[in-house]
Symmetry: C2
Subunit: 320 residues, 2 copies
Protein backbone atom coordinates (compact mmCIF):
# COMPACT_ATOMS: atom_id res chain seq x y z
CA UNK A 1 0.00 0.00 0.00
CA UNK A 2 2.82 2.42 0.89
CA UNK A 3 5.79 2.18 -1.50
CA UNK A 4 8.99 1.02 0.15
CA UNK A 5 11.06 4.01 -0.89
CA UNK A 6 8.66 6.31 0.92
CA UNK A 7 8.72 4.26 4.07
CA UNK A 8 12.49 4.42 3.91
CA UNK A 9 12.43 8.17 3.47
CA UNK A 10 10.16 8.63 6.40
CA UNK A 11 12.43 6.57 8.58
CA UNK A 12 15.39 8.72 7.68
CA UNK A 13 13.67 11.53 9.51
CA UNK A 14 12.82 9.48 12.54
CA UNK A 15 9.82 10.12 14.69
CA UNK A 16 10.42 10.55 18.39
CA UNK A 17 8.49 8.42 20.84
CA UNK A 18 6.64 11.37 22.28
CA UNK A 19 5.74 14.94 21.34
CA UNK A 20 3.98 17.86 22.92
CA UNK A 21 1.97 18.42 19.74
CA UNK A 22 1.26 15.98 16.92
CA UNK A 23 -0.15 17.50 13.74
CA UNK A 24 -2.01 15.12 11.44
CA UNK A 25 -2.01 16.35 7.85
CA UNK A 26 0.32 18.60 5.87
CA UNK A 27 -2.10 20.84 3.98
CA UNK A 28 -2.32 24.61 4.53
CA UNK A 29 -3.85 24.17 8.00
CA UNK A 30 -1.26 21.64 9.20
CA UNK A 31 1.71 23.52 7.77
CA UNK A 32 0.61 26.87 9.20
CA UNK A 33 0.01 25.14 12.54
CA UNK A 34 3.52 23.68 12.34
CA UNK A 35 5.16 27.06 11.78
CA UNK A 36 3.29 28.62 14.70
CA UNK A 37 3.86 25.64 17.01
CA UNK A 38 7.62 25.56 16.56
CA UNK A 39 7.95 29.34 16.71
CA UNK A 40 6.11 29.18 20.03
CA UNK A 41 8.63 26.64 21.26
CA UNK A 42 6.43 23.55 21.24
CA UNK A 43 7.96 20.17 20.47
CA UNK A 44 5.85 19.33 17.42
CA UNK A 45 5.81 17.20 14.26
CA UNK A 46 3.66 16.88 11.13
CA UNK A 47 2.72 13.50 9.70
CA UNK A 48 1.25 13.50 6.20
CA UNK A 49 -0.31 10.57 4.30
CA UNK A 50 1.06 11.59 0.92
CA UNK A 51 3.12 14.72 0.21
CA UNK A 52 2.81 17.90 2.28
CA UNK A 53 1.08 20.76 0.51
CA UNK A 54 -2.40 19.32 0.50
CA UNK A 55 -5.01 19.45 -2.23
CA UNK A 56 -3.62 22.91 -3.03
CA UNK A 57 -1.31 21.21 -5.52
CA UNK A 58 -4.34 19.95 -7.46
CA UNK A 59 -5.65 23.49 -7.98
CA UNK A 60 -4.58 24.68 -11.42
CA UNK A 61 -4.54 28.35 -10.46
CA UNK A 62 -5.10 30.16 -7.17
CA UNK A 63 -6.10 33.81 -7.24
CA UNK A 64 -7.74 34.40 -3.87
CA UNK A 65 -4.93 33.68 -1.36
CA UNK A 66 -4.08 37.17 -0.11
CA UNK A 67 -0.60 38.15 -1.26
CA UNK A 68 -0.49 36.00 -4.40
CA UNK A 69 -2.41 37.60 -7.27
CA UNK A 70 -2.21 34.45 -9.34
CA UNK A 71 -0.16 31.33 -8.72
CA UNK A 72 -0.29 27.69 -9.81
CA UNK A 73 -1.46 25.36 -7.08
CA UNK A 74 1.63 23.25 -7.40
CA UNK A 75 3.90 26.28 -6.89
CA UNK A 76 1.95 27.60 -3.92
CA UNK A 77 1.88 24.17 -2.36
CA UNK A 78 5.66 23.95 -2.73
CA UNK A 79 6.03 27.44 -1.17
CA UNK A 80 3.95 26.26 1.77
CA UNK A 81 5.97 23.06 2.20
CA UNK A 82 9.34 24.81 2.03
CA UNK A 83 8.20 27.50 4.43
CA UNK A 84 7.09 24.95 7.02
CA UNK A 85 10.22 22.82 6.53
CA UNK A 86 12.28 25.76 7.76
CA UNK A 87 10.75 25.07 11.16
CA UNK A 88 9.24 21.62 11.53
CA UNK A 89 9.98 17.98 10.80
CA UNK A 90 7.45 16.68 8.25
CA UNK A 91 7.08 12.92 7.91
CA UNK A 92 5.58 12.19 4.49
CA UNK A 93 3.91 9.07 3.14
CA UNK A 94 2.94 7.86 6.59
CA UNK A 95 -0.71 7.40 7.45
CA UNK A 96 -2.28 7.84 10.86
CA UNK A 97 -4.48 4.79 11.32
CA UNK A 98 -5.89 5.33 14.79
CA UNK A 99 -5.75 7.77 17.68
CA UNK A 100 -6.64 6.77 21.23
CA UNK A 101 -6.53 8.77 24.44
CA UNK A 102 -5.43 7.21 27.71
CA UNK A 103 -5.37 9.54 30.70
CA UNK A 104 -3.80 12.75 29.40
CA UNK A 105 -1.86 11.21 26.50
CA UNK A 106 -2.84 10.55 22.90
CA UNK A 107 -1.55 7.31 21.37
CA UNK A 108 -1.19 7.66 17.60
CA UNK A 109 -0.87 4.43 15.58
CA UNK A 110 0.88 4.82 12.24
CA UNK A 111 0.99 2.80 9.03
CA UNK A 112 4.67 2.12 9.79
CA UNK A 113 3.64 0.04 12.79
CA UNK A 114 4.96 2.66 15.19
CA UNK A 115 2.85 4.21 17.95
CA UNK A 116 3.71 7.75 18.99
CA UNK A 117 2.56 9.53 22.14
CA UNK A 118 1.56 13.16 22.31
CA UNK A 119 0.10 15.63 24.79
CA UNK A 120 -1.95 17.35 22.11
CA UNK A 121 -3.15 16.67 18.57
CA UNK A 122 -4.17 19.00 15.76
CA UNK A 123 -6.33 17.19 13.21
CA UNK A 124 -5.78 18.85 9.86
CA UNK A 125 -6.51 15.93 7.57
CA UNK A 126 -8.77 17.79 5.17
CA UNK A 127 -11.10 16.04 2.79
CA UNK A 128 -11.07 13.55 -0.05
CA UNK A 129 -13.05 13.69 -3.28
CA UNK A 130 -16.59 12.44 -3.04
CA UNK A 131 -17.57 9.70 -5.44
CA UNK A 132 -20.76 9.83 -7.49
CA UNK A 133 -21.57 6.18 -6.97
CA UNK A 134 -22.86 5.67 -10.50
CA UNK A 135 -22.30 2.89 -13.01
CA UNK A 136 -18.93 3.07 -14.77
CA UNK A 137 -17.32 5.42 -12.25
CA UNK A 138 -15.21 2.77 -10.59
CA UNK A 139 -14.77 0.57 -13.67
CA UNK A 140 -13.25 3.40 -15.70
CA UNK A 141 -11.19 5.06 -12.97
CA UNK A 142 -7.85 5.85 -14.57
CA UNK A 143 -9.33 4.90 -17.95
CA UNK A 144 -11.03 8.25 -18.53
CA UNK A 145 -12.52 8.88 -15.10
CA UNK A 146 -10.53 11.26 -12.86
CA UNK A 147 -10.94 13.50 -9.82
CA UNK A 148 -8.03 15.81 -10.62
CA UNK A 149 -7.57 17.96 -13.72
CA UNK A 150 -4.02 19.05 -12.92
CA UNK A 151 -3.06 15.39 -12.67
CA UNK A 152 -4.81 14.12 -15.80
CA UNK A 153 -5.86 16.92 -18.18
CA UNK A 154 -2.76 16.18 -20.21
CA UNK A 155 -4.22 12.91 -21.50
CA UNK A 156 -7.19 14.67 -23.10
CA UNK A 157 -5.55 17.33 -25.22
CA UNK A 158 -7.79 18.29 -28.16
CA UNK A 159 -10.48 15.92 -26.88
CA UNK A 160 -13.88 16.41 -25.32
CA UNK A 161 -14.49 15.76 -21.64
CA UNK A 162 -17.27 16.24 -19.11
CA UNK A 163 -16.85 17.96 -15.76
CA UNK A 164 -19.49 16.69 -13.35
CA UNK A 165 -20.30 19.32 -10.75
CA UNK A 166 -20.52 23.05 -11.45
CA UNK A 167 -19.48 24.51 -8.10
CA UNK A 168 -16.25 26.50 -7.72
CA UNK A 169 -13.98 23.48 -8.02
CA UNK A 170 -15.81 22.20 -11.09
CA UNK A 171 -15.70 25.64 -12.69
CA UNK A 172 -11.98 25.99 -11.99
CA UNK A 173 -11.42 22.52 -13.42
CA UNK A 174 -13.32 23.41 -16.60
CA UNK A 175 -11.39 26.67 -17.04
CA UNK A 176 -8.13 24.86 -16.57
CA UNK A 177 -9.08 22.17 -19.09
CA UNK A 178 -10.00 24.83 -21.65
CA UNK A 179 -6.67 26.59 -21.08
CA UNK A 180 -4.75 23.43 -21.96
CA UNK A 181 -6.80 22.73 -25.10
CA UNK A 182 -9.26 20.24 -23.70
CA UNK A 183 -12.93 20.88 -24.56
CA UNK A 184 -15.03 20.63 -21.38
CA UNK A 185 -18.79 20.50 -20.81
CA UNK A 186 -19.91 21.19 -17.25
CA UNK A 187 -22.87 19.21 -15.90
CA UNK A 188 -24.54 20.77 -12.85
CA UNK A 189 -27.31 19.05 -10.88
CA UNK A 190 -28.93 22.28 -9.65
CA UNK A 191 -31.01 24.59 -11.87
CA UNK A 192 -28.54 27.48 -11.51
CA UNK A 193 -24.87 28.40 -11.49
CA UNK A 194 -23.29 26.99 -8.33
CA UNK A 195 -19.95 28.81 -8.66
CA UNK A 196 -18.81 32.35 -7.75
CA UNK A 197 -19.72 35.20 -10.08
CA UNK A 198 -16.06 35.57 -11.08
CA UNK A 199 -16.04 31.99 -12.37
CA UNK A 200 -19.43 32.33 -14.07
CA UNK A 201 -18.05 35.26 -16.05
CA UNK A 202 -14.91 33.36 -17.00
CA UNK A 203 -16.94 30.33 -18.09
CA UNK A 204 -19.05 32.57 -20.33
CA UNK A 205 -16.01 34.42 -21.73
CA UNK A 206 -14.46 31.08 -22.58
CA UNK A 207 -17.70 29.82 -24.17
CA UNK A 208 -17.73 26.78 -21.93
CA UNK A 209 -20.98 24.84 -22.07
CA UNK A 210 -22.61 24.71 -18.61
CA UNK A 211 -25.63 22.40 -18.52
CA UNK A 212 -27.91 22.87 -15.49
CA UNK A 213 -30.44 20.46 -14.03
CA UNK A 214 -28.32 17.56 -15.25
CA UNK A 215 -28.30 14.32 -13.31
CA UNK A 216 -25.57 12.02 -14.59
CA UNK A 217 -26.84 8.43 -14.68
CA UNK A 218 -23.98 6.43 -16.10
CA UNK A 219 -20.46 6.64 -17.49
CA UNK A 220 -19.87 4.11 -20.25
CA UNK A 221 -17.00 2.90 -22.35
CA UNK A 222 -15.74 0.22 -24.69
CA UNK A 223 -14.23 -1.87 -21.93
CA UNK A 224 -10.86 -0.18 -22.46
CA UNK A 225 -11.77 3.46 -21.94
CA UNK A 226 -14.57 5.95 -21.49
CA UNK A 227 -16.52 6.93 -24.60
CA UNK A 228 -19.47 8.80 -23.14
CA UNK A 229 -22.01 9.40 -20.40
CA UNK A 230 -25.76 9.50 -20.01
CA UNK A 231 -27.59 12.23 -18.11
CA UNK A 232 -31.17 13.14 -17.41
CA UNK A 233 -32.54 16.67 -17.67
CA UNK A 234 -34.29 17.01 -14.32
CA UNK A 235 -36.86 19.54 -15.58
CA UNK A 236 -37.97 17.72 -18.74
CA UNK A 237 -37.05 14.23 -17.50
CA UNK A 238 -35.49 13.52 -20.93
CA UNK A 239 -32.31 11.43 -21.18
CA UNK A 240 -29.32 12.65 -23.12
CA UNK A 241 -26.12 11.10 -24.34
CA UNK A 242 -22.80 12.98 -24.26
CA UNK A 243 -19.85 11.59 -26.22
CA UNK A 244 -16.67 12.29 -24.24
CA UNK A 245 -13.24 10.75 -23.82
CA UNK A 246 -12.93 11.75 -20.19
CA UNK A 247 -15.01 12.50 -17.14
CA UNK A 248 -13.75 14.72 -14.31
CA UNK A 249 -15.79 14.41 -11.15
CA UNK A 250 -16.08 17.45 -8.83
CA UNK A 251 -19.17 16.73 -6.73
CA UNK A 252 -17.89 17.49 -3.29
CA UNK A 253 -15.66 16.35 -0.51
CA UNK A 254 -15.62 13.97 2.44
CA UNK A 255 -13.91 14.87 5.73
CA UNK A 256 -11.15 12.45 6.71
CA UNK A 257 -11.97 11.39 10.22
CA UNK A 258 -11.56 7.59 10.04
CA UNK A 259 -8.65 7.58 12.47
CA UNK A 260 -10.49 9.32 15.30
CA UNK A 261 -13.57 7.11 15.50
CA UNK A 262 -12.76 5.81 18.96
CA UNK A 263 -11.95 9.24 20.42
CA UNK A 264 -15.53 10.45 20.73
CA UNK A 265 -14.92 13.76 18.95
CA UNK A 266 -18.20 15.55 18.17
CA UNK A 267 -18.88 15.57 14.43
CA UNK A 268 -21.64 17.42 12.60
CA UNK A 269 -24.29 15.68 10.49
CA UNK A 270 -21.99 15.64 7.45
CA UNK A 271 -19.10 14.15 9.42
CA UNK A 272 -17.03 17.30 9.92
CA UNK A 273 -15.24 17.94 13.24
CA UNK A 274 -17.07 20.48 15.38
CA UNK A 275 -14.73 23.14 16.79
CA UNK A 276 -15.15 26.43 18.57
CA UNK A 277 -13.66 29.72 17.40
CA UNK A 278 -10.31 28.71 18.86
CA UNK A 279 -10.30 25.36 17.02
CA UNK A 280 -10.88 23.40 20.23
CA UNK A 281 -13.04 20.26 20.13
CA UNK A 282 -15.00 18.53 22.90
CA UNK A 283 -11.87 16.48 23.75
CA UNK A 284 -9.23 18.31 25.79
CA UNK A 285 -6.02 19.15 23.91
CA UNK A 286 -7.50 17.90 20.64
CA UNK A 287 -7.96 20.53 17.93
CA UNK A 288 -9.41 20.65 14.43
CA UNK A 289 -8.23 22.99 11.67
CA UNK A 290 -8.89 23.42 7.97
CA UNK A 291 -11.26 21.55 5.70
CA UNK A 292 -11.83 18.68 8.13
CA UNK A 293 -13.81 21.12 10.30
CA UNK A 294 -16.18 22.09 7.47
CA UNK A 295 -15.59 25.75 8.33
CA UNK A 296 -12.97 26.36 5.70
CA UNK A 297 -13.08 25.30 2.06
CA UNK A 298 -10.62 28.09 1.29
CA UNK A 299 -6.84 27.93 1.52
CA UNK A 300 -6.52 31.26 3.31
CA UNK A 301 -9.11 30.24 5.91
CA UNK A 302 -7.37 26.91 6.52
CA UNK A 303 -4.00 28.60 6.96
CA UNK A 304 -5.54 31.01 9.46
CA UNK A 305 -7.19 28.18 11.38
CA UNK A 306 -3.91 26.28 11.56
CA UNK A 307 -2.33 29.26 13.30
CA UNK A 308 -5.32 29.54 15.65
CA UNK A 309 -5.13 25.83 16.56
CA UNK A 310 -1.38 25.99 17.28
CA UNK A 311 -1.79 29.08 19.46
CA UNK A 312 -4.62 27.36 21.36
CA UNK A 313 -2.46 24.28 21.89
CA UNK A 314 0.36 26.51 23.12
CA UNK A 315 -2.01 28.26 25.51
CA UNK A 316 -3.49 25.01 26.84
CA UNK A 317 -0.15 23.20 27.24
CA UNK A 318 2.04 26.01 28.49
CA UNK A 319 -0.04 28.76 30.02
CA UNK A 320 -2.67 26.82 31.93
CA UNK B 1 -6.86 66.82 9.65
CA UNK B 2 -6.96 65.07 6.26
CA UNK B 3 -4.53 66.55 3.76
CA UNK B 4 -6.18 68.07 0.69
CA UNK B 5 -4.30 65.97 -1.84
CA UNK B 6 -5.68 62.80 -0.24
CA UNK B 7 -9.21 64.08 -0.22
CA UNK B 8 -8.78 64.86 -3.88
CA UNK B 9 -7.45 61.39 -4.59
CA UNK B 10 -10.30 59.75 -2.79
CA UNK B 11 -12.78 61.78 -4.78
CA UNK B 12 -11.22 60.67 -8.03
CA UNK B 13 -12.41 57.17 -7.23
CA UNK B 14 -15.90 58.22 -6.31
CA UNK B 15 -18.00 56.37 -3.81
CA UNK B 16 -21.43 55.26 -4.92
CA UNK B 17 -24.47 56.25 -2.86
CA UNK B 18 -25.22 52.68 -1.92
CA UNK B 19 -23.46 49.31 -1.75
CA UNK B 20 -24.34 45.76 -0.91
CA UNK B 21 -21.26 45.46 1.28
CA UNK B 22 -19.20 48.23 2.86
CA UNK B 23 -15.82 47.17 4.26
CA UNK B 24 -14.31 49.47 6.89
CA UNK B 25 -10.52 49.12 7.02
CA UNK B 26 -7.92 48.04 4.49
CA UNK B 27 -5.67 45.77 6.55
CA UNK B 28 -5.27 42.03 5.82
CA UNK B 29 -8.82 41.28 6.99
CA UNK B 30 -10.47 44.02 4.93
CA UNK B 31 -8.42 43.33 1.80
CA UNK B 32 -9.04 39.58 1.92
CA UNK B 33 -12.74 40.28 2.50
CA UNK B 34 -12.72 42.58 -0.53
CA UNK B 35 -11.22 39.94 -2.81
CA UNK B 36 -13.75 37.34 -1.72
CA UNK B 37 -16.71 39.75 -1.86
CA UNK B 38 -16.07 40.89 -5.42
CA UNK B 39 -15.25 37.38 -6.63
CA UNK B 40 -18.60 36.30 -5.20
CA UNK B 41 -20.27 39.04 -7.23
CA UNK B 42 -21.16 41.40 -4.38
CA UNK B 43 -21.16 45.14 -5.00
CA UNK B 44 -18.56 46.11 -2.39
CA UNK B 45 -16.05 48.81 -1.50
CA UNK B 46 -13.23 49.29 1.03
CA UNK B 47 -12.75 52.57 2.89
CA UNK B 48 -9.45 53.01 4.72
CA UNK B 49 -8.44 55.79 7.12
CA UNK B 50 -4.82 55.94 5.96
CA UNK B 51 -3.24 53.68 3.35
CA UNK B 52 -4.47 50.13 2.66
CA UNK B 53 -2.14 47.41 3.90
CA UNK B 54 -2.71 47.91 7.59
CA UNK B 55 -0.19 47.76 10.41
CA UNK B 56 1.54 45.03 8.36
CA UNK B 57 3.66 47.78 6.82
CA UNK B 58 5.04 48.65 10.27
CA UNK B 59 6.35 45.11 10.77
CA UNK B 60 10.03 45.06 9.89
CA UNK B 61 10.03 41.38 8.89
CA UNK B 62 7.27 38.79 8.64
CA UNK B 63 8.18 35.13 8.77
CA UNK B 64 4.96 33.39 9.79
CA UNK B 65 2.54 34.20 6.97
CA UNK B 66 2.27 30.84 5.18
CA UNK B 67 3.84 31.05 1.75
CA UNK B 68 6.33 33.81 2.51
CA UNK B 69 9.39 32.50 4.34
CA UNK B 70 10.62 35.98 5.12
CA UNK B 71 9.35 39.28 3.78
CA UNK B 72 9.50 42.93 4.86
CA UNK B 73 6.19 44.20 6.20
CA UNK B 74 6.16 47.03 3.75
CA UNK B 75 6.55 44.64 0.80
CA UNK B 76 3.89 42.23 2.02
CA UNK B 77 1.53 45.08 2.70
CA UNK B 78 2.05 46.32 -0.87
CA UNK B 79 1.44 42.78 -2.19
CA UNK B 80 -1.82 42.68 -0.28
CA UNK B 81 -2.92 46.08 -1.54
CA UNK B 82 -2.11 45.34 -5.18
CA UNK B 83 -3.82 41.97 -4.98
CA UNK B 84 -7.03 43.50 -3.63
CA UNK B 85 -6.91 46.41 -6.10
CA UNK B 86 -7.24 43.88 -8.93
CA UNK B 87 -10.78 43.38 -7.68
CA UNK B 88 -12.09 46.14 -5.47
CA UNK B 89 -12.25 49.92 -5.28
CA UNK B 90 -10.27 51.09 -2.24
CA UNK B 91 -10.91 54.61 -0.98
CA UNK B 92 -7.86 55.71 1.03
CA UNK B 93 -7.43 58.55 3.52
CA UNK B 94 -11.13 58.65 4.33
CA UNK B 95 -12.30 57.98 7.85
CA UNK B 96 -15.58 56.38 8.86
CA UNK B 97 -16.93 58.61 11.63
CA UNK B 98 -20.23 56.94 12.45
CA UNK B 99 -22.40 54.01 11.42
CA UNK B 100 -26.14 53.92 12.06
CA UNK B 101 -28.73 51.32 11.12
CA UNK B 102 -32.22 52.33 10.03
CA UNK B 103 -34.53 49.48 9.07
CA UNK B 104 -32.35 47.14 7.00
CA UNK B 105 -29.83 49.74 5.82
CA UNK B 106 -26.58 50.93 7.35
CA UNK B 107 -25.83 54.66 7.02
CA UNK B 108 -22.08 55.28 7.05
CA UNK B 109 -20.91 58.85 7.71
CA UNK B 110 -17.49 59.70 6.33
CA UNK B 111 -14.88 62.35 7.07
CA UNK B 112 -15.55 63.75 3.59
CA UNK B 113 -19.04 64.76 4.70
CA UNK B 114 -20.64 62.08 2.52
CA UNK B 115 -23.05 59.47 3.89
CA UNK B 116 -23.11 56.10 2.13
CA UNK B 117 -25.79 53.42 2.46
CA UNK B 118 -25.09 49.71 2.57
CA UNK B 119 -26.95 46.46 3.13
CA UNK B 120 -24.06 44.94 5.04
CA UNK B 121 -20.87 46.09 6.78
CA UNK B 122 -17.63 44.29 7.57
CA UNK B 123 -15.76 46.04 10.37
CA UNK B 124 -12.06 45.39 9.86
CA UNK B 125 -10.63 48.47 11.50
CA UNK B 126 -7.98 46.69 13.54
CA UNK B 127 -6.25 48.30 16.47
CA UNK B 128 -4.11 51.29 17.35
CA UNK B 129 -1.09 51.42 19.62
CA UNK B 130 -1.85 51.68 23.29
CA UNK B 131 -0.26 54.55 25.15
CA UNK B 132 1.55 54.12 28.46
CA UNK B 133 0.09 57.26 29.98
CA UNK B 134 3.29 58.21 31.78
CA UNK B 135 5.03 61.53 32.16
CA UNK B 136 7.00 62.61 29.09
CA UNK B 137 5.25 60.23 26.69
CA UNK B 138 3.12 62.87 25.04
CA UNK B 139 5.57 65.74 25.51
CA UNK B 140 8.35 63.92 23.64
CA UNK B 141 6.24 62.24 20.95
CA UNK B 142 8.21 62.69 17.74
CA UNK B 143 11.13 63.98 19.79
CA UNK B 144 12.41 60.55 20.76
CA UNK B 145 9.17 58.78 21.63
CA UNK B 146 7.74 56.54 18.89
CA UNK B 147 5.31 53.63 18.40
CA UNK B 148 6.85 52.34 15.18
CA UNK B 149 10.43 51.15 14.62
CA UNK B 150 10.15 50.84 10.85
CA UNK B 151 9.05 54.46 10.73
CA UNK B 152 11.64 55.93 13.08
CA UNK B 153 14.59 53.57 13.76
CA UNK B 154 16.56 55.50 11.17
CA UNK B 155 16.90 58.51 13.49
CA UNK B 156 18.69 56.49 16.16
CA UNK B 157 21.52 54.89 14.23
CA UNK B 158 24.47 54.09 16.54
CA UNK B 159 22.46 55.36 19.50
CA UNK B 160 20.85 53.70 22.50
CA UNK B 161 17.09 53.32 22.78
CA UNK B 162 14.60 51.59 25.06
CA UNK B 163 11.82 49.31 23.85
CA UNK B 164 9.00 49.31 26.40
CA UNK B 165 7.10 46.03 26.27
CA UNK B 166 8.71 42.62 25.73
CA UNK B 167 5.89 40.75 23.99
CA UNK B 168 6.23 39.59 20.38
CA UNK B 169 5.90 43.06 18.90
CA UNK B 170 8.44 44.51 21.33
CA UNK B 171 10.85 41.66 20.65
CA UNK B 172 10.51 42.10 16.89
CA UNK B 173 11.04 45.83 17.31
CA UNK B 174 14.23 45.25 19.32
CA UNK B 175 15.59 42.75 16.79
CA UNK B 176 14.88 45.16 13.99
CA UNK B 177 16.58 48.04 15.81
CA UNK B 178 19.66 45.88 16.41
CA UNK B 179 19.78 44.93 12.73
CA UNK B 180 19.94 48.59 11.71
CA UNK B 181 22.67 49.44 14.22
CA UNK B 182 20.55 50.85 16.97
CA UNK B 183 21.32 49.54 20.50
CA UNK B 184 18.03 48.54 22.19
CA UNK B 185 17.22 47.60 25.78
CA UNK B 186 13.88 45.86 26.28
CA UNK B 187 11.90 46.68 29.43
CA UNK B 188 9.24 44.10 30.31
CA UNK B 189 6.71 44.59 33.12
CA UNK B 190 6.24 40.87 33.83
CA UNK B 191 8.84 38.68 35.59
CA UNK B 192 9.37 36.49 32.50
CA UNK B 193 9.80 36.52 28.74
CA UNK B 194 6.49 37.50 27.15
CA UNK B 195 7.46 36.69 23.55
CA UNK B 196 7.56 33.45 21.54
CA UNK B 197 10.46 31.07 22.04
CA UNK B 198 11.76 31.87 18.54
CA UNK B 199 12.11 35.52 19.50
CA UNK B 200 13.62 34.75 22.91
CA UNK B 201 16.36 32.79 21.15
CA UNK B 202 17.01 35.58 18.68
CA UNK B 203 17.16 38.17 21.46
CA UNK B 204 19.76 36.06 23.26
CA UNK B 205 21.76 35.38 20.08
CA UNK B 206 21.85 39.10 19.45
CA UNK B 207 22.86 39.83 23.05
CA UNK B 208 19.93 42.19 23.49
CA UNK B 209 19.38 43.25 27.07
CA UNK B 210 15.90 42.19 28.27
CA UNK B 211 15.05 43.60 31.70
CA UNK B 212 12.12 41.89 33.42
CA UNK B 213 9.92 43.22 36.22
CA UNK B 214 10.51 46.73 34.96
CA UNK B 215 7.83 49.36 35.45
CA UNK B 216 8.66 52.50 33.49
CA UNK B 217 7.77 55.58 35.54
CA UNK B 218 8.81 58.51 33.38
CA UNK B 219 10.44 59.52 30.11
CA UNK B 220 12.51 62.66 30.44
CA UNK B 221 14.43 64.99 28.19
CA UNK B 222 16.10 68.35 27.86
CA UNK B 223 12.98 70.06 26.53
CA UNK B 224 14.15 69.42 22.95
CA UNK B 225 14.48 65.66 22.93
CA UNK B 226 14.51 62.51 25.05
CA UNK B 227 17.63 61.84 27.10
CA UNK B 228 16.50 59.01 29.36
CA UNK B 229 13.84 57.19 31.32
CA UNK B 230 13.25 56.07 34.89
CA UNK B 231 11.99 52.61 35.79
CA UNK B 232 11.28 50.71 38.98
CA UNK B 233 12.36 47.10 39.55
CA UNK B 234 9.10 45.58 40.77
CA UNK B 235 10.80 42.86 42.83
CA UNK B 236 13.33 45.05 44.69
CA UNK B 237 11.30 48.26 44.44
CA UNK B 238 14.52 50.09 43.50
CA UNK B 239 14.46 52.89 40.94
CA UNK B 240 16.82 52.92 38.00
CA UNK B 241 17.82 55.46 35.42
CA UNK B 242 18.43 54.49 31.78
CA UNK B 243 20.15 56.97 29.47
CA UNK B 244 18.62 56.64 26.00
CA UNK B 245 18.04 58.84 22.98
CA UNK B 246 14.80 57.17 22.00
CA UNK B 247 11.90 55.23 23.48
CA UNK B 248 9.80 52.81 21.42
CA UNK B 249 6.53 51.86 23.07
CA UNK B 250 5.03 48.42 22.39
CA UNK B 251 2.64 47.83 25.26
CA UNK B 252 -0.43 46.65 23.45
CA UNK B 253 -3.26 47.61 21.21
CA UNK B 254 -6.70 49.19 21.36
CA UNK B 255 -9.54 48.01 19.11
CA UNK B 256 -10.93 50.76 16.87
CA UNK B 257 -14.66 50.77 17.49
CA UNK B 258 -15.41 54.47 17.99
CA UNK B 259 -17.60 54.66 14.87
CA UNK B 260 -20.00 51.91 15.93
CA UNK B 261 -20.92 53.17 19.39
CA UNK B 262 -24.56 53.80 18.49
CA UNK B 263 -25.06 50.44 16.75
CA UNK B 264 -25.27 48.33 19.88
CA UNK B 265 -22.67 45.78 18.76
CA UNK B 266 -21.67 43.46 21.61
CA UNK B 267 -18.10 44.13 22.71
CA UNK B 268 -16.02 42.12 25.18
CA UNK B 269 -14.57 43.56 28.38
CA UNK B 270 -11.52 44.88 26.53
CA UNK B 271 -13.64 46.56 23.86
CA UNK B 272 -13.18 44.00 21.07
CA UNK B 273 -16.13 43.08 18.80
CA UNK B 274 -17.66 39.75 19.71
CA UNK B 275 -18.21 37.51 16.68
CA UNK B 276 -19.15 33.90 16.13
CA UNK B 277 -17.10 31.44 14.07
CA UNK B 278 -18.56 32.90 10.89
CA UNK B 279 -17.62 36.48 11.87
CA UNK B 280 -21.25 37.44 12.48
CA UNK B 281 -22.07 39.87 15.33
CA UNK B 282 -25.29 40.39 17.28
CA UNK B 283 -26.47 42.89 14.64
CA UNK B 284 -27.82 41.37 11.41
CA UNK B 285 -25.58 41.81 8.34
CA UNK B 286 -22.82 43.37 10.44
CA UNK B 287 -19.57 41.40 10.61
CA UNK B 288 -16.25 41.72 12.39
CA UNK B 289 -12.92 40.45 11.05
CA UNK B 290 -9.28 40.72 12.02
CA UNK B 291 -7.70 42.43 15.02
CA UNK B 292 -10.80 44.42 15.94
CA UNK B 293 -12.39 41.11 17.05
CA UNK B 294 -9.56 40.28 19.44
CA UNK B 295 -9.44 36.78 17.92
CA UNK B 296 -6.58 37.44 15.57
CA UNK B 297 -3.35 39.25 16.37
CA UNK B 298 -1.77 37.42 13.44
CA UNK B 299 -1.80 38.47 9.79
CA UNK B 300 -2.67 35.00 8.49
CA UNK B 301 -5.59 34.72 10.93
CA UNK B 302 -6.91 38.15 9.94
CA UNK B 303 -6.71 37.30 6.24
CA UNK B 304 -8.62 34.08 6.88
CA UNK B 305 -11.27 35.88 8.90
CA UNK B 306 -11.73 38.45 6.14
CA UNK B 307 -12.58 35.65 3.73
CA UNK B 308 -14.95 34.11 6.28
CA UNK B 309 -16.75 37.42 6.83
CA UNK B 310 -17.18 38.05 3.09
CA UNK B 311 -18.54 34.55 2.52
CA UNK B 312 -20.96 35.01 5.43
CA UNK B 313 -22.13 38.33 3.96
CA UNK B 314 -22.61 36.67 0.59
CA UNK B 315 -24.61 33.87 2.19
CA UNK B 316 -26.79 36.26 4.20
CA UNK B 317 -27.43 38.72 1.35
CA UNK B 318 -27.82 36.34 -1.56
CA UNK B 319 -28.73 32.89 -0.36
CA UNK B 320 -31.23 33.62 2.39
Amino acid sequence: MIPTFSLGKAEEKRLNEEYELFIVGGGPAGLSAGIYAIRAGLDAVIVEKTLAGGLVSEDPLIENYLGFESIEGEKLSKNFRNHALKYINIISNVEVLDIKKIDDRFFISLSTGQTVKSKAVIMATGTTHKKLGIKGEEEYLGKGVSYCVTCDAYFFKNKKVAVIGGGNSGAIAALYLKSVNVEPTVLEFMPKYMCEKAYQDQLKNNKINYIMNAQVMEIYGNGEKVIGLKYRDRSSNKEYDLKVDGVFIYVGLIPQTQSIKSLGINLDSRGYIITDKKCRTNVKNFYGAGDVTGDSGQIIISAGQGAVAALSAYEDLRLK
